[in-house]
Every structure is written in structure tokens, then in C-alpha cells.
């Protein structure tokens, strides 16, 4: 396997890592500064974020997820977050497989699973808007996922629901409460859709701001960013 092939496999693995807050791949967001194989065969990945003070919990999740994805290729792996106030704690913690609580001794009481789930629920709501927006006028409360023609947005919504342990099969209701998985009653549909749209707007606006900040901070494209 050539270094180039390995490099593209590493990038493909990194494309599976999402910013949990923005629900977009870190490659597309421009967060991968470099991804290469060193002379001794180690995969070395450098990540970068829009600001020095980006929230350390989300930063930790991205570094840890990047580590897991690349290590799953069977490579010795180093992932380094550059230019961040908590770089040292995060980089050392992930390298030692220490978990979040031990990486931030005395500053965290729990791992980040619940935080991640909270943001997956937002992604489900935002995804609901993406899927339902073209369906105005349909009886959404009685429809199932299988009633909707395939689209990347639908595929993504199914995956997020699956990740949360929510129903995602063809016969699952299209509209569910992302906290309980219960179907949304007909009378609650307008408010549910309003909330879905608002959540998507918020995610889109945050992504826009993060992209703008990153561009100001670094004048180069991230690895895998130009492909999109």
C-alpha cells in the first residue's frame, strides 16, 4: 500500500468523524490541518478549530473520535489538536485513552455520552426539517419513513435516529419526539415542525460562523475540504 493510498484511507476515516455540535464531518468543515504517515509508519493527524477557545468538550470528542477512526485502520495513530487553550490536556488524554474525566481532572464529573446524545437529538430535529420541508400539505403525522422517497437527507436522518437508539425502519413514524421516540400527534405537528426548522436554522448559522472564523484564522483549506 502506498503512502498516498494510506493517506486517502486516513482522510476517508476522518470523514466519518463529525463535529458533534454542528453535525458535519470534520473534513468538510476544514478542521483537518494535515493527515500523513510518518517515516516510522505512524498515522499523524493534526486538527484545528475556528478559535483558541472552542468548547473543550466538543474538541475532546473530535480528537478522540478521530483517534478511534484512524486506529481502526490498524495504524499506529497520533492525533494532535493544534492552537487550542486545552490542547495539552486533550492531546495527552486521548493518547493515553484516559477518558474525559481523567483528562480534565477535577474539572469534569462525567464522560461526554449524554452531551453527545443531546446534540444528536438536535441533529434529528434539524434533519426532520430537511426531510419534511418539501412535503408541505402531506399528512405527516400518519406517514412513515418508508413513505418518503430516498434522499441523502433522509438517509442522514435515519442514521442519526439509529445512533440514538430511536426507531429508524421503514415502518417507523416519520415524526417522533427525539427524546422519547414517541410519535408526534397530529395536533402537535405544526409546533414540532417549527421547532425543527428553528433547530436547523441554529445549526446552519453556527456552522456559517464557525466557517468564517476558521477562514480568518487559517488561510489554507483543510485536508479533504476542497473535495466538497
Amino acid at each position: 500500500m502506498t503512502a498516498t493510498t494510506t493517506g486517502s484511507r486516513i482522510l476517508a476515516a476522518l470523514a466519518e468523524v463529525r463535529d458533534p455540535e454542528l453535525d458535519e464531518p470534520i473534513t468538510a468543515l476544514g478542521f483537518v490541518a494535515s493527515a500523513a504517515v510518518t517515516d516510522d509508519g505512524t498515522a499523524e493527524v493534526h486538527l484545528r478549530l475556528p478559535t483558541y477557545f472552542c468548547a473543550p468538550n466538543f474538541a475532546y470528542l473530535m480528537v478522540a473520535d478521530a483517534y478511534d477512526q484512524v486506529a481502526a485502520l490498524g495504524l499506529r495513530t497520533t492525533v494532535i489538536l493544534d492552537d487550542h487553550f486545552a490542547s495539552d490536556a486533550i492531546n495527552e488524554g486521548v493518547a493515553a485513552r484516559a477518558g474525559f474525566v481523567r483528562s480534565f481532572e477535577g474539572e469534569a464529573v462525567d464522560e461526554l455520552d449524554e452531551l453527545r446524545a443531546d446534540f444528536l437529538r438536535k441533529a434529528v430535529l434539524a434533519g426532520t426539517d430537511a426531510v419534511c420541508r418539501p412535503l408541505a400539505g402531506f399528512p405527516l403525522a400518519t406517514m412513515t419513513l418508508g413513505d418518503i422517497p430516498y434522499s441523502p437527507a433522509l438517509q442522514r436522518l435515519r442514521r442519526r435516529r439509529r445512533d440514538l437508539g430511536l426507531p429508524y425502519a421503514d415502518d417507523s413514524p416519520l415524526l417522533i419526539d427525539p427524546r422519547t421516540g414517541d410519535p408526534v400527534g397530529a395536533g402537535d405537528v405544526p409546533l414540532h415542525l417549527r421547532k425543527a426548522r428553528l433547530t436547523r436554522t441554529s445549526l446552519d448559522a453556527n456552522t456559517g460562523i464557525c466557517r468564517g472564523m476558521l477562514k480568518h484564522r487559517y488561510d489554507t483549506d483543510g485536508q479533504g475540504e476542497e473535495a466538497l
Binding site: F53, P56, F100, A108, D110, T201, A205, I209, M213
Partner: protein, 356 residues
């Protein structure tokens, strides 16, 4: 004041700063944080029109003359409200203190309102300081930054009993308006630092105070909106929304404005330039000219001249008791600025009624 097409706008810049962030003010040993903070602010400026960008050296240490020119002479602002941010762990004299702001304000009577702040971790000394600041600077508003670092602590929340003690004191001292700003670090670090639910608690328990959530809770606009719909005393501070999105991401700006107008309502949104991050001039000119860019926004509330007048100045004037000359006031039937029941859910006459 600003005038366009025969309409006159009274402008209150309800969120702006006079900071000192150059290397001469950095705390030895904390230089990386002081530098990281101001560079982060500077990146936000990059979201405005290129002609309004400053070099980092000026951005760190703009002068009184810069401010007076940008905000009042070129920037149309009638009254500007200083919002302090201390950050004394990183900046020797503080980043932007009540004292520094008020000293500038004292030289220009009638132009500024000096808000002060508290930090519940300051204990009894902080309560005394708050009382002194209110007496000395006549503050009726507070700026609270919950993610400030202090002695190893990474921030606080408005739910803390210590914060309630301060809010009680603030109310007793005659404070009316509390501007809240979230940041990325708060203990414990595994929780979402930008969560606004603590504002919800405080707003419920202190109904006499107005809570203006700056940057509309960004990056948690959705949580902010859900909360604001239920709390008659919660307002949306638009700093960063206009500055950070109107030029850089006009379609997202339209959506965010549409959502805010729907959930929070035009009576409860206040303009703030966030100067020195962005100059007010382009923000005010652009906002007065702004409308939704196309039909896909047709189910959002409409934006009228009265909407813009309220947001640019009349709402904040009401909250701060600023006298507005007659020719800048609304005509009868154009609504009541800063009406508390303007949000969906708060008012029975709101668009939420149609949501069942």
C-alpha cells in the same frame, strides 16, 4: 440618529465595549489566553465587510478618538451602553472594566450608559463592590459573563445560590436590566457551557428584572428561543447576529431574523454593535435597508419600518428609560416598544395561537 427615505431612527447601541487588550495589559504567565481571547474577537470582525476590518494592533488598542468617531460621528448612535468584561486573570487592568468605561463616559455627558457587573465567586467583597459601582456610576444594568475564569474555577451559572444573592442585591439596588453572555468553559466541563436554562430559572425567580440574552444565546439560538417564549422578561440581544451574519451569511441571517421575529417578537429584540468587534455604521445602514431575500421566507413575520425602529433603538430606550425625541417615536398603532408579552407563548394574540 439615522435618517433614510424620510424615516428617522433613534439608535441605541445596547452592547458595546471600550477594551484594552494590547500586550502591555497582558498578565505575565497568562499571555496565551489574553492573546487567544483578542484574536478570537478579531476573527469575528472578519465576518464584517472587508472595508471595515482593522489590523490586529489597532483592534487590541483602539483609542477614545476611534470610538467617538466610529460610534457617534460616523455610526449614527444616539446613546451607547457600555457592557464590561473583566477577565482580570488575563488582563492586568481588566479587559473592559466599569471604571474604564465610566471614565470615558464622564467626558461625554449624555452619550453613554455605564453598566456594571458582578461575579458571584467574589463573595461579600463583590456585593460591596456592586453597591459602590451602582452608587458611583448610576448603573441600572449589568453584564454577566458566566464563563470567566477565576482561581482555577471555569465559570458559574445563574442557578448558583451565590448568584441569587447577587441578583437579590442587584434588584434592591435598582438594577433593571441584566445582559447575559455565555462562553465556552463552565464547570463541569462535561456539560454544555452554552446552555441557557439557568437564565430561565433566574428569569422566573426575578420577574422584575429584564434578562437580555446577548448574541441571542448563540450558539444555542433554539434553546434561547424556546426559553424566551415562556418568559415575559427575557429579551434577545442582537449583537453578533447582525454583525456576524448579515454580511457574511445573508441567507442564514434572514432565517435567524425570521425565527427571532416569530418566537421572540420585534418588541423584545435589541440592537448592539458589539463595537470594537464591528463598527455600527454598516450594521445600521444595512439593517435599515434589509428585507427577506425571496419568497422562501414568506411564512416568517414581516419586517416593517416600525420593526426596525424598535430594534435599533426604541426597545432599548424603553428598557433603560432613555428619553426619545417625539419625531423618533412611533405613531399610534405601531406597537409598544419592549412590550413584555410579545413572545409566542407569552401572548395569546401571538402567531403561536395558530399552532394549536
Amino acid at each position: 440618529m439615522y435618517e433614510k427615505d424620510g424615516e428617522k431612527y433613534f439608535v441605541v447601541d445596547s452592547h458595546m465595549h471600550y477594551w484594552s487588550a494590547g500586550p502591555d495589559n497582558w498578565v505575565p504567565g497568562a499571555e496565551q489566553y489574553a492573546k487567544g481571547w483578542i484574536e478570537c474577537f478579531h476573527a469575528y470582525q472578519g465576518l464584517g465587510p472587508p472595508a471595515t476590518h482593522w489590523p490586529i494592533e489597532k483592534f487590541m488598542s483602539y483609542t477614545e478618538d476611534d470610538l467617538m468617531k466610529d460610534v457617534f460621528q460616523d455610526g449614527y448612535v444616539d446613546v451607547a451602553i457600555f457592557q464590561p468584561t473583566y477577565l482580570t486573570e488575563w488582563y492586568r487592568e481588566g479587559f473592559n472594566t466599569t471604571e474604564r468605561n465610566a471614565a470615558l463616559g464622564a467626558k461625554h455627558p449624555g452619550k453613554f450608559i455605564a453598566n456594571t457587573r458582578f461575579d458571584p465567586r467574589d463573595g461579600d467583597d463583590g456585593l460591596k463592590q456592586l453597591e459602590e459601582n451602582v452608587a458611583r456610576y448610576g448603573s441600572i444594568g449589568l453584564k454577566l459573563y458566566t464563563a470567566e475564569w477565576k482561581d482555577g474555577s471555569r465559570g458559574w451559572t445563574l442557578k448558583d445560590p451565590a448568584a441569587y444573592r447577587y441578583l437579590e442585591k442587584a434588584q434592591e439596588l435598582g438594577i433593571k436590566n441584566v445582559h447575559v453572555h455565555k462562553g465556552p468553559t463552565i464547570w463541569p466541563l462535561d456539560k454544555d457551557a452554552f446552555d441557557v436554562s439557568d437564565v430561565d430559572h433566574a428569569a422566573t425567580d426575578f420577574p422584575e428584572l429584564n434578562f437580555i440574552v446577548e448574541h441571542v444565546g448563540l450558539p444555542r439560538i433554539e434553546d434561547f428561543c424556546f426559553m424566551a417564549t415562556q418568559e415575559p422578561n427575557v429579551y434577545a440581544g442582537l449583537s453578533v447576529v447582525i454583525g456576524g451574519l448579515m454580511h457574511a451569511r445573508p441567507r442564514f441571517f434572514a432565517k435567524v431574523m425570521g425565527e427571532l421575529l416569530f418566537w421572540v417578537g420585534e418588541d423584545k429584540m435589541t440592537f448592539g454593535s458589539d463595537y470594537g468587534i464591528w463598527e455600527p455604521k454598516w450594521q445600521i445602514e444595512g439593517f435599515v435597508d434589509w428585507d427577506y431575500p425571496g419568497d422562501e421566507f414568506s411564512d416568517y413575520p414581516r419586517v416593517t419600518t416600525a420593526t426596525k425602529k424598535k430594534i435599533l433603538g426604541l426597545n432599548a430606550a424603553k428598557l433603560y428609560g432613555i428619553e426619545v425625541p417625539k419625531e423618533y417615536q412611533l405613531d399610534a398603532g405601531e406597537g409598544a416598544p419592549a412590550a413584555r408579552d410579545d413572545s409566542v407563548g407569552v401572548s395569546s394574540g401571538s402567531p403561536a395561537a395558530s399552532l394549536g
